[in-house]
Structures are given as C-alpha cells and as structure tokens.
C-alpha cells in the first residue's frame, strides 16, 4: 500500500511561558498523529485554544515542532530539511488563512499575489502568466477575471478575498491544502460558496484538505473524516458519519450538543460539569468537566480504543467495549 499523502506522527509543541529567564513551558500539542489521503477532506475540530492553529502552522512549516515527524508521501521532511521548508515542500503543501482581510498584502493587486506564486514555483512565465492568472481566477469563480485581477484587496468583498486566497494556494498546484477556519470571517451567505469550492477541489484535482473549523455542521457536510482535538490531544477520530452521528468521547458529545441547531437546542442541558479543579497531570485532560469521570481518569492517561473500523477514541469508558489500540495511531 502506498504511504498516505501527508502524515503527522506524535507532534509535540510547547511555548515558553513566564518571563525572561523562566524555563516554564506550556504544552500546546501533545503527541498528535493523523494521516491525510489524496482527495480527502479531514476536519479538525476543537474549542478555541485547543491547538488547531498551532497544528496548522506546524504542517505549513511556519513553525517547527519540538518533537515528532511530518511525512509527505512517506518521506520524513523534518529530518531532511530541518527548520526551513524547501521550495519543493511549499510547492506541495499550501495554506489558506482564517482572515482574508489579513492574508492578502494591501499594497499589491490580486494579479501580483497569484503571479508571485506562479513564478516562484515555475508554474508559468512570460506571456503565459496573465493567461494563467485569469484561468485561476475563473476556476475559483471570480469573473470577469481581467477586471478582478487588477483590483487591490480592499476593493473586494470578504468572500472574494477568500477566493483569491484559495486561488493563490492553487497556483502552485499543491497536493495538500491546509485551511484554517477559511469561512469563519465570512458572511453567512458567502460561506457556502467557499466550502463548495474546497469540496470541488478534492473531487477534481485529488487535493487533500485539512479543514480546521469550530463549526461541526460545516464539518459534517464537507469532511470525510473528523479529528477532535481537546487541550492539544486528539481525543476522537474517525469517519465523519461515525464521529458525528455516534460520538463516543464525552467531549465530542459535549461539542455536538452545543451546536445551535433545531428549535430546542437551548432546552437540552449540556453534558458537562463545571470544572472545579485543574486537569490532573497524569490523567485525562477532560476529567474535571467530564460527567463520567472516575478514579482511573485522574490517574492514568486513557489509551486509544478502536470501537469500530477507523474509529479511535481516547477514553477509559471504552476499555470495557473495545480493544486498546495505541499502536494503530502511533505507527
């Protein structure tokens, strides 16, 4: 079997906290592993501060993990390239940022942004350049392309800007796109268009997309698989239908119950407790809020269990139901 398109293996990242001379560090990502296949959309969900953007920056090589490996088509890129990514890596892994009002340089035109990516990666040059820019704009639904190419970012709406950002990522003909909440800053009526665009890319070009979101409803519509992050650890992962229709981890259930959907969403109580203690140093990070927590949860980190095919859950509750399977993810 060929290796997955992009694979992360036991990524760890911590940041220094406290002032000068202090060696204290805060762990933001702990042993995060996952894989992304060609033509697949993997949704990464979790609350604010759970480490979603940190993970995205590691994969886009804007930041380097403390430990762990990133494998692109089976090749360990960190071991080979070190801190700064090669042009070849940039040519295969692209990123779309959350805020389209910040990710385009206000002093450059739309055409400039696209041309730079094309030229830098040798995808077009000379007379071909303009034609390619127009083709790219058309492919993301920005028409008339000739006219839009000449505009500056402030002359575009949020949805249009985000499409330009997608077009820029597409310009280098990547295999992987990391999209960090690409629609959270957009108006609702333009969101769906951007999501459909991303979905089309996986279908037509076989691009693998890591779709970071806090909106589970979008994830359900877009993603093939879902990865749930809590406090920097993966707590549940599996096919979208399994994870979102039959959630097993108490945190996933909590998230789902809070999605504003349906007339009586405010009437159902939240399946969580009010945290009264900090997370136990050795046990499950969710224990202080978990309604099912028991002694085990405070003493030992739960292993991954595999209740169904491709469905991994990191919770002690599963130990009676399935086979512990830490090996399957960390391989």
């Amino acid at each position: 079997m060929s290796p997955p398109l992009l694979e992360a293996s036991r990524l760890n990242r911590s940041f220094p906290v406290g002032g000068f001379l202090s060696h204290a560090r805060r762990k933001v990502l702990t042993d995060v592993s996952f894989s992304l296949e060609r033509g697949e959309i993997l949704a990464l969900v979790g609350e604010s501060g759970s480490g979603k953007s940190t993970l995205a920056r590691l994969l886009a090589r804007l930041d380097t993990p403390d430990s762990g490996d990133i494998l692109l088509s089976g090749e360990n890129v960190l071991a080979r390239e070190g801190r700064s990514a090669s042009l070849a890596y940039r040519g295969r892994v692209q990123m779309v940022f959350q805020d389209p009002f910040a990710s385009l340089n206000p002093v450059h035109t739309v055409a400039y942004h696209l041309e730079r990516s094309l030229v830098r990666h040798g995808r077009a040059r000379g007379v071909e350049l303009t034609r390619k820019v127009h083709a790219l704009l058309e492919s993301v639904g920005l028409t008339p392309a000739e006219q839009l190419a000449k505009r500056y970012p402030h002359e575009l709406s949020g949805g249009q800007r985000q499409r330009v950002a997608v077009a820029r990522a597409l310009a280098v003909e990547p295999d992987v796109i990391i999209a960090d909440e690409p629609t959270s800053m957009l108006d609702v009526s333009t969101r769906r268009g951007v999501l459909q665009l991303l979905k089309g890319l996986t279908r037509e070009r076989g691009i693998g997309i890591l779709f970071i979101t806090h909106d589970l409803a979008s994830a359900r519509h877009l993603a093939d698989r879902v990865l749930v992050l809590y406090a920097g650890s993966v707590v549940e992962t599996g096919r979208t239908s399994d994870v979102l229709q039959a959630p097993r981890h108490p945190y996933t259930r909590l998230l789902l119950s809070a999605v504003p959907d349906g007339a009586d969403f405010l009437r159902t109580p939240l399946p969580a407790r009010v945290a009264t203690a900090p997370p136990p140093p050795l046990g499950c990070a969710f224990a202080p809020r978990c309604p099912h927590a028991d002694v085990r949860c405070h003493e030992a980190l739960p292993p991954f269990h595999l209740p169904a095919a491709e469905h991994h859950v990191r919770c002690h509750l599963e130990s009676s139901k399935g086979v512990p399977d830490d090996a399957a993810v960390s391989s």
Binding site: S48, P106, H108, R120, H121, R168, R220, D261, L266, A272
Partner: protein, 589 residues
C-alpha cells in the same frame, strides 16, 4: 499610491509646508548665482540694511543676504542627506531585526540600545575629530548619532507586520526573506518611511545648526550655523546688529515649520482617527421636515420603533444605514435581529440607547420606550434613562469593562451613577449579581484580565442587569465564544429572563441560534427590516427570498438536512437584494 498623493496635495498643511520647502530648495539651488560672494569683504562692517546691501553687512563686512542664500545650500543638502541616511540605516537595521527575530534581533537590538543610552552626539563629536573637516564629517557624525532611535521605530513596526497573515502567506508561497522585507513589508511602511524621513531631516537641520553655532563645524564654510557662529563672535548682539542673525534665524524657523507641517500632514493622512470627522447631519432639522404621519405605538408594547432612519456621514456623503425600520418589543419578549455584516444591526441597537457615534444621527422616525420618546430626551434625562431602563451587553466584553478597575469598582461606578449607593452596598450587590450569572461572588475583587472570554461576557451581563432594566440589548455577545460556552451563557440568560422578566433585543448573524433563542425574529438587510415573524414560522415558511437565502446558508447537523439550494435560487436572491457595501470606516469586524 496615486490616490494618496492626490489626497496629500489636497491637504492644506501639506500644501503650505510643501510650497515653503520647495521655495527654500529653489533658493538653495539657484540663489547663489544671483548674489554676491558671501566670503568677500564687500563693504563696511556692521552696516544696517541699505540699497547696496539689502540685508546689511556682517561684523567683518560681508553681505548678509549672500551669506543667508548661500548658507541654505549646504545646510539643506546636509539636512536631507542625513535625513535619508538615518532613515535608511534605521529602517534596514530595524526591519531586519524585527522580521528575522531570534538571535539576529537580540544582537541588533542590543546594539541599538547601546547607541540609545550612550550620549550619541558628544561621542560622535569626539570621533569626528579624527575625520577631515567638511560637510562629509557633519553627515557622518549626525548619522552616527541619530540612526538608533529610528531603528527602534522600524523594528516595532516590523514586529507588528510580521505577525500579520500576509507575511505568513508569503512564506508559505515560498518567497525569500529579502523579498519579503523589500516587497511585502517595506511598501506597507511607506508612510512611516516618509514621516521618518521628514522628521530626521528636521533633526539633522537642528543638530547641524546647533553644532556649527558652537563652533564644532567647519567654521570656514558658509552655512546657517556658521553664520550664527560668526554673528556671535562678532558681537552682533552687543552692537545691536540684529540684521546679521535675524534673516538666518527666520530661515531656520521657516524650514523647521514647513517640515513639521509636512510630517503632521502625513500622520493625519495615514491615521484617519486624527482627521476631523465629518459632521453628522442635523438631526432635529431633518426630523421636523421628514417625519411622516406616525402610527401610534402598538398597545402594550414595551418598545415601539417607528420609521427609524439613521445616517452616517462619510467621505462620500451621507449613507443611510438604518432605513425606515419599525418594530415592537413586548415586555419579557426575546426579539432577535439577524443580518449580515454592514446591515445596520448594531447601529440600530446602539440607537435604542442613543449611543451612536458622533458621525451618525437619527434623521427620521421615533423610538418610544414605555411611553418615553427616547429621541427627544435631554442629556440629563438620557443619562438617567440609559442603563436603568435599557442596558446593553457588547460584543467585546473587554471594551465594556475598564481594565484598570476591579469588578467591584465597576459595579460601584454603575450603581453610584444612578442613585449614589455606598461602596459597601455596591459590592454586596456586585456579589449577588455575579452569583446570579453563575460566577463566584469572590470575583468582585478580580480584574477583568484575570477572566476568560466567557466569564467576561457574564460580567457584562451582570453589569447590564445591575439596575434591573426592562430591556437589555445584546449585540453579538457570544460571537467571540466557543459553542459550549455560548450555550451555557444563553441558557443562563433565558433563565434570568424568566426570573426577572426583562425583554431582550438579541443581535447576531447566526440565524439558527436566533431561531432557537427568540420569540420573534426580524431579518435586516441593508438597513431594511425585510421580514419579521415568530421564530416558529420563520423556521418552516419564511417568505422573503433573503431570509430563505440566509436559512439555507447554514448547514445542519441532523441527518434530515435539506440539500444545498440550487445556484440560481442563490443568485436570484443575491442579485435582487444586493446589500450595498457599507461605506463605514471600520465597518467590518
């Protein structure tokens, strides 16, 4: 860029400063050919102005006019050269340090700081003694003494820009460091470069004149500084020969004035908040003309808004942001207001408390709250009305909380402003309110920054309820929060509403949320209320195409989800009802 230049020219400060400076440049450039030799002894010493010597003669007998004109050349040349060099060196060092960060930054920042703490000018003068005398020495000395401060400014700017996503996006696109510095960062600092250059030139002229006046320059040269030096040496003050130093003094002052004007013009241009805001349309006058026959307020309504229009003054003229909105809110009702960014939701909410910014005005219509016409309240009546009858919870709780006061103090501020509660009773009430919104009462002694976003929003709600108002306007109070925190908070709000019986105007773009929360919902599009109905009915049979578009934009979690709307439905709805791009400064968040 061209637009910026045009605006610069239109500005009066820039025009005056620029003209003055250009005049001096012209004099410095061609003037010396039209005057006498400034070093030759052309007449009697200490002669007042006459037809032979328009500005008189110096203590030695040279022509003062010639000295002033010729002096302009070297003074300005050195001034601009040092201005450019200091800006260049400072920008390069600062941007490199700020952008590359880590060890490069540490090293460069340390160097910069050393230069800042040692008295640069005296050191430079001592070092300058080893250089051959002349204009070159002055340039080196002044650049050496002046670059460090600039490097600091540019480093700060680079640090701020480095964190912006477009820099990260350029890195991901594979751009090199050099290119990111020169093509992505520098063009964004154009205004800083311009104003630094002007400021540095000002510094250079001033320092140069000062040094030369003290005799530390090249006393053989003809510059404004040496002119003053010789005037001092020749006892111009003692002999009351004012004409020797006044022309040079005026020239220096005028150059300084023009440079100051230019730099303040650039600041204003790049920082819109310094510009005088356009005046709001005259509310009272326009209301008198424009109020149509008013329908009576609905019986039993707590709040009745009729034909409300609100306009912002913008650069492009008045822009109507709320357009003939009429709505009623019953006591104890939750009324939801939905709309996209720029549709005027917040403006409408602020108007209910008359909290509009100075550039906005209610130009038409009425707001009647419980029998009181809010639009007609006097300032004192308004102060008593706000918060005690209608209060507000803001999108960003931090903007409503004072970061330097403990929560207890903020409760006291609010309570004391309406009826002079004692500090002890305010704190007691604060504890009670905090418990009510589900926070620990001990938090009265906490500072806002010690709270999470969700906790701050709870404090915001507690503050809004402090005076038991009958209506609370909530402007996107949960938009910045996670879904779990959002649900906890909303459940608490509904519970409190049941207990205390206040009505809520809830503003958000999240329609599914609004439908679950509200009794009735109004859909705002481009300032117009296009549909108002019960949440129940809107969910199943919304009539307006825009409402349907909004509804279909939210994917659902349940398996019984309707399919995505066909593109032509979307286009139809969108093109029929294009919301105008709101021309508000900072209208988008």
């Amino acid at each position: 860029m061209r637009e910026t230049l045009r605006r610069l020219l239109r500005q009066r400060k820039a025009a005056v400063g620029g003209t003055l400076l250009l005049g001096f440049l012209l004099v410095a450039l061609v003037g010396p050919w039209f005057v006498m030799d400034p070093t030759e002894l052309m007449g009697q010493p200490h002669q007042p102005p006459s037809s032979a010597h328009w500005f008189g003669t110096t203590g030695q007998g040279q022509d003062v006019l010639a000295q002033t004109v010729v002096g302009a050349r070297e003074t300005l040349a050195i001034g601009f050269a040092v201005g450019a060099l200091v800006t260049l060196v400072g920008a390069l060092v600062g941007i490199t340090a700020g952008y590359l960060g880590r060890r490069v930054d540490d090293a460069l920042t340390l160097t910069t700081n050393i230069f800042l703490v040692i008295p640069g000018l005296p050191l430079a003068i001592v070092l300058g003694a080893y250089l051959p005398s002349g204009p070159f020495r002055m340039v080196v000395v002044l650049t050496f003494a002046g670059w460090a401060w600039n490097a600091r400014v540019f480093r700060a700017e680079a640090l701020a820009l480095r964190g912006r996503d477009f820099v990260a996006a350029a890195v991901v696109a594979g751009e090199s460091h050099a290119r990111i510095i020169t093509r992505e960062l520098l063009p964004n600092m154009a205004s800083l470069v311009a104003s630094s250059f002007i400021g540095n030139t000002l510094y250079a002229v001033g320092a140069q004149v000062g040094l030369e006046f003290l005799g530390l320059g090249d006393v053989g040269a003809v510059t404004w500084g040496t002119n003053l030096y010789w005037a001092g040496n020749d006892a111009a003050l003692l002999t009351r020969s004012w004409w020797i130093f006044v022309p040079t003094g005026i020239c220096i002052a005028l150059v300084g004035f023009s440079l100051t004007l230019l730099s303040s013009a650039i600041d204003e241009l790049t920082n819109p908040s310094l510009r005088a805001p356009p005046k709001a349309p005259k509310a009272a006058v326009m209301r008198a003309v424009a109020t149509p026959a008013q329908e009576a307020a609905a019986p039993g309504a707590l709040l009745s808004v009729r034909d409300l229009c609100i306009e912002y003054m913008t650069q492009a003229g008045p822009s109507r942001v709320v357009d003939q909105v009429s709505l009623d809110i019953a006591p104890g009702e939750v009324f939801g207001l939905a709309g996209e960014s720029g549709s005027g939701k917040s403006t409408l909410g602020y108007a209910l408390l008359r909290l509009l910014p100075s550039s906005a005005a209610i130009t038409q219509g009425s707001i009647v709250f419980d029998g009181t016409d809010v639009t007609a309240l006097s300032p004192e009546a308004l102060r008593a009305f706000r918060w005690s009858r209608v209060s507000m919870v803001f999108q960003s709780a931090m903007s409503a909380l004072n970061p330097v006061l403990t929560l207890g103090e903020q409760f006291h501020d609010t309570l004391a402003a309406h009826g002079g509660a004692s500090r002890a009773s305010s704190y007691a009430r604060g504890r009670e309110l905090l418990a009510m919104v589900g926070l620990k009462p001990e938090l009265v002694n906490a500072w806002p920054h010690q709270l999470s976003g969700g906790m701050r929003q709870r404090v915001g709600i507690a503050l809004a309820l402090a005076l038991e108002p009958r209506l609370v306007v909530m402007d996107e109070p949960t938009t910045a929060l996670d879904v779990v925190v959002q649900k906890e908070l909303l459940q608490r709000v509904l519970e409190l509403k049941e207990r205390l019986g206040f009505a809520v105007l809830f503003i958000t773009h999240d329609l599914p949320l609004l439908l679950a929360l509200s009794d009735r919902v109004g859909i705002l599009q481009a300032g117009k209320l296009v549909e108002v109905d019960t949440a129940q009915r809107l969910r199943t049979d919304a009539r307006h195409p825009y409402t349907r578009l909004l509804l279909s934009s939210f994917p659902h979690l349940g398996a019984t989800d309707t399919q995505a709307p066909t593109p032509d439905v979307l286009e139809q709805a969108a093109s029929a009802l294009k919301p105008p791009l709101a021309a508000l400064p900072g209208g988008r968040r």
